[in-house]
């Protein structure tokens, strides 16, 4: 199997689905001839034709609104919002329309749409190219929210998202497009090809939505994370020398609560890791669920490590980013409690 980085894996997923299903079409800003600012749609227009992968006006509400109409017709649109930070103009179409159409029409009209969008910081993108808005989508009834952390999962989850009959928000951690990132920004960048999950099959396969992955087994403490933070969690566990179990949630909604509960019941301790701002973040939901379901197994208060409640500051990126130092501190607090 060829070694793929996450961009190539996502490109392969789109290529496979364009070839497999004539109802799949891709559009968004700069995705056509040019192949997207992060190159995820590179070569797809040339290979599959102008009407299968094309450029749109800069209008996110128009992109998502049109995709909803296409979904209602019976197509399976995959749209790209160039940065998650640009998705807010489409928020009404996502929240009030895509999310609710099946419900409000009693199943008559549906939106089998996938919205791909790069999210997260660590690339010196400043406050408008670094945000992690996942909680804005997990809070909405009717949307599925998916965040891959490796090339293998990215391809399998994206194919599963495209084949899903409900709208899926597919958040791509752009800091790890080209290689895993353990949070040590001062260390040399690692390419994906040294990572086992860069072994990506060329053909069709899926990673099911709603299933978490235990990426490191351990007995002392559970770390819940997703996206870029999975790699930070793994590095932190190694560096702290703590026998941590690291769970990559992969799908935030629907959440694989069973895997989470089984792990916390085993370890009795839990650290929740997210890059997004702390307050009302998805980590708060996780903390509440762990408390509800695992209270009598908990040996220590649940710890949350997150971005600070400020906009993502350009010059202070590494003060903002919840890196290994903060994760290890949280793990130690939980271990000592």
């Amino acid at each position: 199997m060829p070694a793929m980085n996450m961009i190539q894996a996502l490109n392969s997923a789109l290529d496979v689905m364009l070839a497999r299903d004539p109802n799949v079409l891709i559009f968004g800003e700069d995705v056509g001839y040019f192949g997207g600012v992060f190159r995820v749609t590179d070569g797809l227009q040339k290979k599959h034709g102008l009407t299968r992968c094309f450029d749109t006006p800069i209008g996110e509400a128009g992109i998502v609104g049109a995709a909803i109409g296409m979904g209602a017709y019976g197509l399976r649109p995959v749209v790209e919002i160039q940065f998650a930070d640009y998705i807010y103009p489409a928020y009404d179409q996502l929240v009030s329309e895509a999310a609710r159409l099946r419900y409000r029409s009693a199943g008559d009209f549906t939106v089998p749409m996938t919205v791909r969008t790069p999210y997260g910081g660590g690339i010196f993108g400043g406050q408008t190219h670094s945000q992690s808005p996942e909680a804005l989508f997990t809070h909405v009834a009717g949307l599925k929210t998916v965040v891959p952390s490796t090339p293998y999962d990215a391809k399998g989850l994206l194919i599963a998202a495209i084949e899903d009959d409900d709208p899926v928000i597919f958040l791509e951690p752009k800091r790890i497009y080209n290689g895993p990132f353990n949070g040590h920004h001062d260390q040399p960048v690692q390419p994906w090809n040294k990572h086992p999950a860069s072994d990506v099959p060329e053909g069709h396969y899926t990673v099911p939505l709603g299933k978490a992955n235990v990426v490191r087994e351990g007995s002392a403490i559970t770390i819940l994370s997703y996206g870029t933070m999975v790699h930070v969690a793994l590095a932190s566990a190694e560096e702290a020398g703590i026998d941590a179990e690291v769970i990559d949630l992969r799908t935030l909604l629907p959440l694989d609560l069973e895997t989470v509960v089984a792990s916390v019941e085993k370890t009795g301790r839990c650290v929740i890791l997210q890059e997004a701002t702390l307050t009302s973040g998805f980590g708060a939901e996780l903390a509440a669920l762990v408390q509800e379901h695992c209270f009598y197994h908990l040996e220590a208060p649940i710890e949350r490590v997150a971005g600070w409640d400020t906009p993502y500051p350009h010059a202070f990126e590494w003060d903002y980013f919840p890196g290994p130092r903060r994760v290890i501190e949280a793990m130690r607090r939980a271990m000592e409690a």
């Binding site: 079409l25 009407t51 749109t56 006006p57 209008g59 509400a61 128009g62 609104g65 049109a66 995709a67 909803i68 109409g69 296409m70 979904g71 209602a72 017709y73 019976g74 197509l75 649109p77 103009p89 009404d92 179409q93 009030s96 329309e97 159409l101 099946r102 419900y103 409000r104 029409s105 009693a106 199943g107 008559d108 009209f109 549906t110 009834a141 009717g142 599925k144 009959d165 409900d166 709603g210 909604l253 629907p254 959440l255 609560l257 069973e258």
Partner: protein, 411 residues
């Protein structure tokens, strides 16, 4: 203040009349019927920009059809349209009363605007997809969707096809080519364009049609729809029902004082037709033109239906608080039902007696349907929808967290 400069002043548009004033439409320019040219369907939008500042009218003051836009329809189709408008009005009156009787929470009438939905539905094909706003119930009625089903939805009873989930009047029926209505304004406009793009992508022959009000033209989705429709030459008809009022805001607040809504089309490279919305024949003809243009791969058309909202915005509104009480009666373009009736009588295809019979028949049809729907249940009375379905259809398959919540409700 710098020398030689006047102090700036902020203009806030206001209507010329308010409650207590006599209605005043003296500033309204109404061209004579039959005076606007009818261009070929493949015309360049720029070449017909003047139509968007005029008003396409077919019926003259005597009820005669005149000029190039006369669609020359046979009597059977016109009578069908007239009866659909009469039925729509009878349905509205009955449902308005039902809301006042406490049988439902909310209702919205389309009184005075019946020609818009009815004529337009007759001018397109049965399988074209309609993305309506909340005031095009005439589409469903014209397509002979069962009135009792509409009432079941309004009453949120056990037979409500939408299972008690939607505000009254937010109908949905894929079988009848009627897209689920949203309460958020204008969202359906880019969706209709997307549906039309999909139809073109698949090499289908169906087109989409959508409606927004004058107030909603101020939403970003209006811009997105026109822009996408133009860029991708989508086979769609985009309508602005300019009924002069957006709840309590006169059309000037949406920008009607500076230009017409139809003229918005020109900047996007789309034809903009401005039509007397109370003239059934003109509405039909303009829609037919736009449908032919769309079906011939010449793309979208924006149509402004110039009309008047004769009643309140909804049952929650009291228009006497912001506009002259008798403004509707003074509307210079009359009533769409009365005008089509006059036209049919003038051409010898209708009579006062036939009209009275049609009005009586519509009232009877609505009465019978209402008895049937009410017997099942009304909001909070009789048989309601199954609570067990409350958690269905959020997703295709119910995820575990919803199953847990359903258990908490005990269903």
């Amino acid at each position: 203040m710098r020398k030689n400069r006047v102090p700036l002043s902020l203009r806030i548009p206001a209507p010329s009349t308010r409650p207590g004033d006599a209605p005043d439409f003296s500033g309204m320019v109404v061209p004579k019927a039959g005076t606007v040219e009818r261009p070929p369907i493949d015309v360049s939008p720029r070449a017909i920009a003047d139509i968007s500042y005029s008003l396409i009218r077919v019926m003259d003051d005597d009820g005669k059809a005149v000029g190039p836009w006369d669609p020359k329809l046979d009597a059977a189709l016109l009578i069908r349209g007239l009866k659909a408008m009469i039925l729509t009005r009878a349905y509205d009156d009955r449902m308005y009363r039902a809301q006042r009787q406490g049988k439902t929470s909310f209702y919205m009438k389309c009184t005075g605007e019946e020609a818009v939905a009815v004529a337009q539905t007759l001018a397109i094909e049965r399988d074209d997809m309609c993305f309506t706003s909340y005031r095009q119930q005439g589409v469903l009625i014209t397509r002979e969707y069962p009135i009792v089903q509409m009432m079941n939805q309004v009453y949120s009873n056990a037979a409500d096809p939408l299972k008690g989930r939607q505000l009254p009047i937010m109908y949905s029926s894929k079988d009848f080519g009627f897209f689920s209505i949203s309460g958020n304004l204008g969202t359906q406009f880019p969706q209709a364009v997307g549906w039309a793009m999909a139809s073109a992508y698949k090499g289908d022959d169906r087109i989409a049609i959508s409606w927004v009000g004058d107030g909603t033209t101020a939403e970003g989705d209006f811009h997105h729809a026109l822009n996408f429709a133009s860029v991708y030459r989508a086979p769609v008809i985009l309508n602005v029902v300019n009924n002069q009022w957006a709840i309590s805001s006169f059309a000037g607040i949406a920008g009607a004082g500076e230009s017409t809504f139809a003229s918005r089309a020109t900047g996007y490279g789309l034809p903009g037709l401005r039509v007397d919305g109370n003239d059934f024949l003109a509405v039909y003809a303009a829609t037919q033109w736009a449908a032919e243009r769309a079906r011939s791969n010449h793309g979208a058309t924006l149509i402004e239906l110039f009309t008047y909202r004769a009643e309140g915005h909804s049952t929650s509104d009291d228009p006497s608080r912001y506009r002259p009480a008798d403004e509707a009666k003074a509307w210079p373009l009359g009533d769409p039902i009365e005008r089509l009736k006059k036209h049919l009588i003038a051409r010898g295809d209708w009579s006062e007696e036939l009209h009275q019979t049609a009005v009586k028949d519509a009232a009877e049809q609505v009465r019978a349907a209402n008895a049937e729907a009410s017997a099942i249940g009304t909001l909070g009375e009789g048989q309601g929808p199954d609570r067990g379905t409350m958690f269905d259809d959020v997703f295709k398959e119910m995820p575990p967290h919803l199953r847990r919540q359903r258990q908490q409700v005990g269903v």
